[in-house]
Symmetry: D2
Subunit: 329 residues, 4 copies
């Protein structure tokens, strides 16, 4: 898909200026010593390959041995458990589907923290609840290791081409060390603040994205019913205060833009089921912090209902189709 | 307030290119013959003044005689009723608070249509239900006159400085004639399609605007609760897929931007009560066309509840304050 | 369908006690003089038949002549226009699909008010916007006639068996006169207050009904997912504070109750499209009175979305099916 | 407050008939051997007292020693930790504020499971996430103990008078044993199914209750605005399909009923903040099971917003006041 995050180079400079401290720790940053990688799924696999391409020796593991074959052929060393990886590498990246997997991989019986070396840098790129990130950070700290959350934006395409965006939370003085590795896999690495703020930034962005997308779909549908030409309406919105990413970059109405999922039967892109998952995280986070999020909450319900009605695999901009009169499809 | 609509000059050229037909009718466009103006409220008054500034003799009326004094001193001729105005001018602009007023001024006992001349051009700049615009157009057509809807974007400031945006619906061959007058009062005049589409465009934009604003307020509030710096979060959103006008141009969180109502205790700007009115129009329109607008509908309810809780007079970005924990204010 | 309204006889006595005034006007209530009936659709037809059964001579009309045949065979006199009916009968009942029809039938070129006799009683049983009822009442008053709104609860079955419920708004001193006729067609006639309150009561009830139904559907679905037996859950709710008409009388989950649409593939009952229409009226009414109705508004959107997704003809309890996981159906 | 759950005796018989198996285990049910009680807050304190009243020797602990004084004076033995209690009693009841407390009390360093005896019966009356109940049950089973969830309905008053309702989840063959103790503290004990279904039943009921309450408040407010008398409207709803517990037993409009919080400035009753907590559990549970709950979700957001706007301590029926026009209060 087209990356959901687009950073301009100019702006990037400012982000980088956040980081002025110098990294001094036992990990040698200059030499390309081995890097651990745990979780070789659709995203983890191409990410690990990019580390290899950049010359890093990779030591990897996955709960499904077959996921490791491709990487092994590229020279990666495959071990049995996260603990084994932690025993051999002092920089480890994890890329897992959900919070329980992260908890298991870090704190389980064969988890990283069983054998982690003092001073190790542990970077979790999974998208999970920020409170779990904080728990992992506390547990890592007890073992003398550093944990950072660094969820990604961008799909398999961006993972393959090394164009992911990483939103990073954790101790600011460790950011440079994390950046060295993350730059191999992404084109933008943003420092967000303390542990958990990487997750927070991603969750917040995706919640607002969902709201904007459903809002755009409703608005375009209403305008069309009222006799407006869809392309003209999109132009008016995009020059006005209704403008948003979903209206000007990823318009959900077929025929308005090219190169977006709405131009391709809502195939590809960012699946409704993934959006529902992220909105679930936003909802849980909002509930736990007692924050009212009325539109975010309704957006979650709409995407959840869409999953129940057969839209799980379509791009999340298919909400336009979901809301339209059936005869009109 | 800063205009809610911002048009770039470059883009404008394309809008203008929509209009290639030549205007041929009995109305003399070259000469500056008198123009009727009905409705001299906060908006109508400065609009009519701008017509005078551009050299047009103005014949006006208002239900409140005192509203006419200022214009009279500038040389406008004040008559008693809309019918009287229609008897003297073949180009008339109306600027009224709501649908019932428009119906009365056009079709009432002393309404425009009682004495309208054949071939007259009637331009209504009120923000009303598009179905009422269509009714008025039909009624005008029966009398041999042309009706166009041309609601504005931009507040009293833009009306005074002649920088309004007009969204125009009606017969395309009449657009040039309308433009001649509207250009005196606005910096952007956009042709939207058949009668009612001017209203439709405005209603659609403001509905998406409201959704984006509440969404931004929720998202910023959630992010802050999760430990993100508000300015940093706004930057991240604005570089990402969560970006919208409310996040990058009119951020509702105090301290994030300057020169917006959130930097000034939510004074000025676009009042919550006005937004609630526009969302009410959107809701009625959606109901009547059987169009599902779940987020637009909830946005309407939230602004309506805010009006009930003391926010009626504050800028609509005060929804951020409404959703925050009271202690935190 | 099972009547949506169920009145107990005991309670009914109290309603009737609202009416203690004696009816004195030119209309002879004792004699069974002719009654006008306008609108012979699915509901109007059986209603008019019940008037005939009770010995009233009926003078009727309908925009579709074929709708009148059956009634004509039963002895009703069929005329061409509402004005003709008003010229012959001083008690008239109207049963029409929506507000514009009511406006036309009363105030149109061949409308009732063109030839209405002074002192006539005009009873409108259509379900429309209360503000239109008020307009009609004002127009009738100018002609010396009395208008009352008396929308019904109960479907075609109740209309046929004479078991409708009427909610009546209008001058209290006319209620007895209205009751005489309405009792022929319904088993419950409730006086609600001034003109428009009959509509208000119906709209309010159906809005709360929709909220309760969707809420019950969500709750049952959630409970089932959490491992509760549906019948047991219904019992627990019905003995507790979650109890409502939709949970204890019209449960939307197949298998929980017998004799309700959920036991019959959601056939029969009260169609989703009719509920969406009533919720649209509630929404318009709330918008026009600036009343926040967040759940009513969302319920409207959900039923509107269901209409767009193929549920228009199913009973409104099919929202349970709409919200369920597709595979589970 | 009036108990939110009201069970009729007649119906109760049927519940009891669910339980036909005979309890055979090492715990002596006939003799009144000591019972452990952990968590002596506002609810736990009067509950433990009722056990003492019924002749059970109680062994208790609480994280706040001062909470134990009153019970100690009544003869209870106070120990330091949950583990100590488990070491001495083979029937234990826990009553704690939230999931993390339950996890700590059961599985913490000094938790029950550290010293629990084989065959012990552990009953948790806290209101928590059903998934946590399941986790605790699994952990208890590993130690040879039985865990049941038994959240209560009814407030401090019902706890004091021994009139609570318990919704019980767990192995059916253990229900009789649980009942023996719960009957000392409550007037209704309902078996709901496997572990977690007690929580599920409570969460479901309270979600539907919240939806019904907000719906009733909206509907009453709308009806009043439309000119209906509140008492009359309540009567109409209660005889019709809009009927629900909030309209007929706990009406939120001042003046409609006596003896409810709306008659007493919304003091007492079930606090908005507690309802928001239960709706948060419902939301988390729905999110985790991927169940769409649009109205439940919006109800959560409304109660959450009310907490942010100063309604945290008022009864949850104060949503009527929250939605009304301020001037009208």
């Amino acid at each position: 898909m087209a990356a959901l995050f687009r950073w301009t180079r100019g702006a990037l400079g400012r982000w980088h200026s956040h980081v002025h401290s110098v990294q001094v720790c036992s990990r040698s940053m200059a030499s390309k010593t081995q890097v651990g990688f745990i979780g070789l799924g659709n995203m983890g696999n191409p990410m690990a390959k990019n580390l290899i391409k950049h010359g890093y020796p990779v030591i990897a593991t996955d709960i499904f041995p077959e996921s490791c074959k491709e990487l092994q052929e590229l020279g990666a060393q495959i071990l049995d458990t996260p603990a084994d990886v932690a025993d051999r590498a002092d920089r480890i990246i994890t890329m897992l589907p959900s919070s329980p997997n992260v908890i298991e991989v870090y704190t389980g019986a064969n988890g990283i923290l069983k054998k982690v070396k003092k001073g190790s840098l542990l970077i979790d790129s999974s998208t999970i609840d920020p409170s779990v990130s904080k728990e992992m950070a506390t547990a890592a700290e007890k073992m003398g290791a550093v944990f950072m959350d660094a969820p990604v934006s961008g799909g398999v395409g961006a993972a393959t081409s090394g164009k992911l965006t990483f939103m990073v939370g954790g101790a600011e003085e460790e950011f440079t060390a994390a950046q060295e590795l993350l730059n191999c896999m992404g084109s933008n690495v943003v420092y967000c603040g303390q542990v958990g703020t990487g997750q927070a930034a991603k969750i917040c962005n995706n919640m607002l994205l969902a709201i904007g997308m459903i809002g755009t779909a409703e608005t375009m549908n209403l305008g069309i019913r009222l006799g407006l030409d869809p392309k003209l309406l999109a132009k008016i919105l995009n020059m006005s205060s209704g403008r948003c990413w979903s209206s000007d970059t990823y318009n959900p109405v077929p025929g308005v833009m090219e190169g977006v999922p709405s131009a391709n039967s809502y195939q590809g892109g960012f699946g409704t089921t993934l959006m529902a998952k992220d909105l679930g995280l936003a909802q849980n986070t909002a509930t736990n912090t007692k924050t009212p999020v009325p539109l975010g909450s309704l957006a979650h319900q709409i995407y959840r209902t869409m999953c129940a009605r057969g839209y799980a695999g379509k791009d999340f901009s298919s909400v336009f189709q979901f809301l339209r009169e059936e005869d009109g499809q």
